[in-house]
């Protein structure tokens, strides 16, 4: 369906791959995928080891040392390599701890969204008829909706909190999973497929396990990775609008928000968390692209 252009347009869309080029691409792709996944792994490590890595307590204030530029020795005698914010908190420590929020919310949202989407997709595929139409129309409607407004509205109703945030972000992404699973199920149920099974003479289970499942899994892995990048950015955007994780817990988006009125005097408050966020988003979504190259080039054309 045309109305489901994938969120990230691959650099070489509409390019049919042929022969040797595909091989080289795949090999280079695997290397890049490894690099990307390592980055995510590193991020997880940093987030988990935050208490050990962060030089200071991220919520410890020092009113007299507020808005200090990056320095080796601040007014409280400590180093603030990325400066302090408007309440005197160490920006570096907050950036490190901010990784926790981004990753936890991101992964949770991907998980929940994936679950909802997969169930919906399976349901739609297996029931065809009415239920299928309903689910797909809901998906259409959701695409038509300026989602950020829905997010703001829901958070305005339920109040900003971790579970609300996860649910809202999950809701924003279930459609991709649903479509994939639905089409896989449709393939499964198609006449050609059933005929092939009989022709091949294998059991349904074996075919499913051997061929369909890996296909579905690789699609889901690609989508999940892309969705992770999107979820992290959405969480940051909502925090930037003041609707995300609440103070004093540090979150990258929230820090950009807090630093906004000091852009001309204490630019470091917004800039560093923003850059880290940007790099994370780029690497993770690129990893998703490379995964797609390696695992399932057919995903591109959809």
């Amino acid at each position: 369906m045309v109305s489901s252009i994938p969120a990230s347009v691959p650099a070489d869309a509409a390019l049919p791959l042929g022969g040797a080029a595909a091989g080289t691409r795949r090999r280079r792709g695997s290397w890049l995928v490894v690099a990307g996944l390592s980055f995510v792994g590193l991020l997880i490590l940093i987030a988990t080891a935050a208490p050990l890595l962060a030089p200071q307590d991220p919520i410890r204030q020092s009113l007299r040392g507020r808005l200090a530029a990056p320095t080796w020795e601040g007014t409280d005698g400590r180093a603030h390599l990325l400066g302090t914010d408007h309440l005197g908190r160490d920006v570096l420590s907050r950036v490190v701890y901010g990784a926790r929020v981004s990753l936890v919310v991101g992964f949770a949202a991907v998980l929940v969204g994936g679950l909802i989407g997969s169930v919906a997709g399976l349901l739609a595929g297996f029931s065809r008829g009415r239920v299928d139409a309903v689910i797909m129309t809901i998906a259409d409607a959701q695409l038509a909706f300026p989602f950020i407004l829905l997010a703001i509205g829901i958070i305005a109703v339920l109040g900003p909190s971790f579970p609300t945030l996860v649910i809202v972000i999950a809701l924003s992404g279930w459609v991709s999973y649903a479509r994939i699973l639905r089409s896989q199920v449709l393939v499964l149920r198609s006449r050609e497929f059933v005929e092939s099974i009989h022709a091949l003479g294998g059991s349904l289970t074996r075919i499913v396990l051997r061929h369909v499942l890996p296909n579905v899994l690789s699609s889901i892995v690609v989508i999940a990775t892309l969705e992770l990048a999107r979820a992290i950015v959405l969480e940051a955007t909502l925090s930037f609008l003041g609707l995300g994780i609440q103070p004093p817990t540090p979150s990258w988006g929230g820090m950009v928000h807090e630093g906004r009125e000091y852009l001309d005097s204490a630019w470091w408050i917004s800039t560093f968390p923003g850059i880290v966020l940007m790099v994370t988003s780029i690497v993770v979504s690129r990893t998703g692209d490379w995964l797609r190259d390696v695992l399932d080039p057919t995903l591109r054309g959809e």
Partner: protein
């Protein structure tokens, strides 16, 4: 052509349902978000005042009744009266619509005008520094969070370099940074698309033929690229224009741009249901209409899709 009219009807029906769903969701969410009346009156207003204003606004009736009224009015194109502005909601939205359209159009025109030549140039200078640099920037533009791009632009191009104003709407200078921010994703996508379309063309037979014939390579490349890339580019641009409002909400907030995105956020906080309903409805309508047109064009071009 035989299957076309049912196809059309089918799509129309789905569009209609989608619009209805969207409106209902807004209705429910807004009603759940609470009572707008305390926002209109001073904190020490007596209960009788509150009651009076609620009745005046029709908020005292049972929810299903309100919903019925809402739908009936919607069918007539009546979005109700803004609770905050005391004017018809549509008039309020219309006042801010021009700003958003101005921003959106500029963003997309800019995106296309800048991205296509860059993509072309990149492909022709494949694997050089320029190519890598351009595609690197495109990568950033596609993956970077919109709000932070905006903040970066403000920091670097407005505060440090003093080239543009930091926010608000005014002369053309006020338009540049917000348009760049809003159009970044589209610009990057188009640049990459163009590049790959050109690369494909460059490797094709007719290029060799053209070279052999001595025809200017650029001209042939441009002609064929446009043919190839036109469809995906137009599709992407069209669809992104349809989701304009979603992107505009964030950009308008960062740059204090007086458009309907910002209006919508304010109205959600003010619990001004009619304005929110009107804005969302119009945004969804715009998206659906554009999608519909794109689907129509595709339907024309590729009969296979119609059965989907």
């Amino acid at each position: 052509m035989r299957g076309f009219l049912p196809f059309l009807g089918h799509r129309l029906f789905r569009a209609f349902i989608a619009l209805w769903l969207v409106s209902t969701v807004v209705f429910v969410v807004m009603r759940l978000s609470g009572d707008p009346v305390p926002l209109l009156l001073p904190p020490d207003a007596p209960r009788s005042e509150i009651f009076r204003v609620r009745t005046e606004l029709g908020l005292d009736r049972p929810l299903p009744v309100q919903y019925g009224v809402f739908l009936a009015n919607l069918a007539r194109g009546d979005f109700g009266r803004s609770i905050h502005y005391r004017e018809p909601a549509f008039n309020v939205v219309r006042g801010y619509l021009a700003a958003t359209i101005e921003l959106g159009l500029t963003a997309f025109v800019l995106a296309a005008l800048v991205a296509v030549p860059i993509g072309l140039f990149s492909a022709m200078r494949r694997n050089t520094l320029v190519d890598h640099a351009a595609m690197g920037v495109a990568l950033v533009g596609q993956s970077a969070p919109t709000f932070f791009l905006g903040i970066l632009f403000i920091l670097l191009l407005s505060l440090k370099a003093d080239l543009f104003p930091t926010s608000g709407r005014g002369d053309w200078r006020h338009l540049v940074l917000p348009a760049l921010t809003l159009g970044a994703f589209t610009m990057a996508s188009i640049a990459r698309l163009t590049r790959s379309a050109v690369l494909e063309v460059l490797g094709a037979d007719y290029i060799r033929t053209a070279r052999a014939k001595g025809v200017s390579e650029l001209w042939v490349v441009a002609k064929h690229t446009l043919k190839n890339a036109a469809i995906p580019i137009v599709t992407i641009t069209g669809l992104q224009f349809g989701t304009l409002l979603g992107g505009a909400v964030v950009t308008e907030t960062v740059f204090a741009w007086p458009g309907i995105g910002r209006l919508a956020i304010q109205s959600i906080y003010n619990r001004d249901y009619p304005v929110v309903q009107c804005t969302v409805f119009l945004a969804a309508l715009m998206f659906i209409v554009i999608n519909f047109c794109v689907d129509l064009i595709y339907g024309f071009l590729d009969p296979r899709i119609r059965s989907g």
